[in-house]
Amino acid sequence: MSYERFLADEPVVVTAALTGGIHGKEASPNLPETPEEIGQAAGEVEAAGASVVHVHARRDNGERAFSTERFQAIDEAIRRYTDDVVIQHTTGATQAPTEKRHLSLRTDPPPEMASLDMGPLNRYDRLTSENTLATVDALYDEMADRGIKPELEVFNDGHLNEVHGLLERRELTEPVYATLIFGPGTLTRPRPANFLNAVDNLPEGALFNTLGFGRHQLPFATMGILFGGNVRVGLEDNVYYREGELAESNAQLVERVVGIAEDLGREVADTSQARDVLGL
């Protein structure tokens, strides 16, 4: 059970989701969009205790971008501002053609990690990010070819079945790493019992990352720390520090969760420890 990882003083890996692909500066002027802004934010969150940065690409006007060249520019900026952070690219791209979702995997060097959405989820009133099994397998296969570790994004309990299904279809390198996501809409309803149920239904030996959207970011990160998981925070998932008060930066959200981990007696993994934990 995951609580044993807490008792065993396993270090917690903090991921910062810096930008995302949904909202932008119209939601918070503090959200980084350009390669330079993203690189700078990566440096700040690394200094605050994050060891992984989850990266989306944007055009200069904030709209979504998918090209390899844009991810390359972002990675180069991240490397200028950071010492040794783990770069994790998104492969999510609601309604965009599947071939565009592979482009983030083709930077030189490739990212050490990339997200892999485990099934469909709704956006707005009329969009769906489909994530068929064929799409999941194709993205996974390219990640495997390029030596990229997948971060399996579990948006709801049905996607837990899909994690088990992927393990039946493909031989994933251990440890399997899944992000359990809680929030509104298609996501798992953000309740503690659902969190425990999701943890219990992961494959044997799998590690988990904990992601709560919006106001659920802080309580679910805290539960993730307590139950031996890892945590993801950042302006992609939540632009507020507290109700009615925008977060000043991604680093501010990282600093808070690092403080909670330390108060609870869990060491926060540095980048070297994170690579050991994640098997990179």
Partner: protein
């Protein structure tokens, strides 16, 4: 054809930006970047079918005209 309610603005609604951003004249606010793909009919999206804001306003306003086109989809 892009959404007739779409325009690109550097400032509105008390907000200003270095780069002009997608603004919805129907909702009277800057739109989320993901929604801007609907406004621009990118990736086979169609604002007339996929945008609930357009659908709420189009009949009342009698809109059928083109909007300001943003950049292409290969950024």
């Amino acid at each position: 054809m892009t959404c007739p309610y779409l325009s690109y603005r550097e400032s509105a609604d008390g907000k200003s930006f270095d780069e002009a951003r997608a603004y919805c004249d129907a909702a009277e606010r800057f739109v989320q970047p993901m929604r801007a793909d609907i406004c621009n009919d990118r990736f086979d999206l169609d604002h007339a079918e996929d945008c609930e804001i357009y659908l709420d306003h189009a009949d009342a306003d009698g809109h059928e005209a083109d909007g300001d086109r943003g950049e292409g989809d290969d950024a």
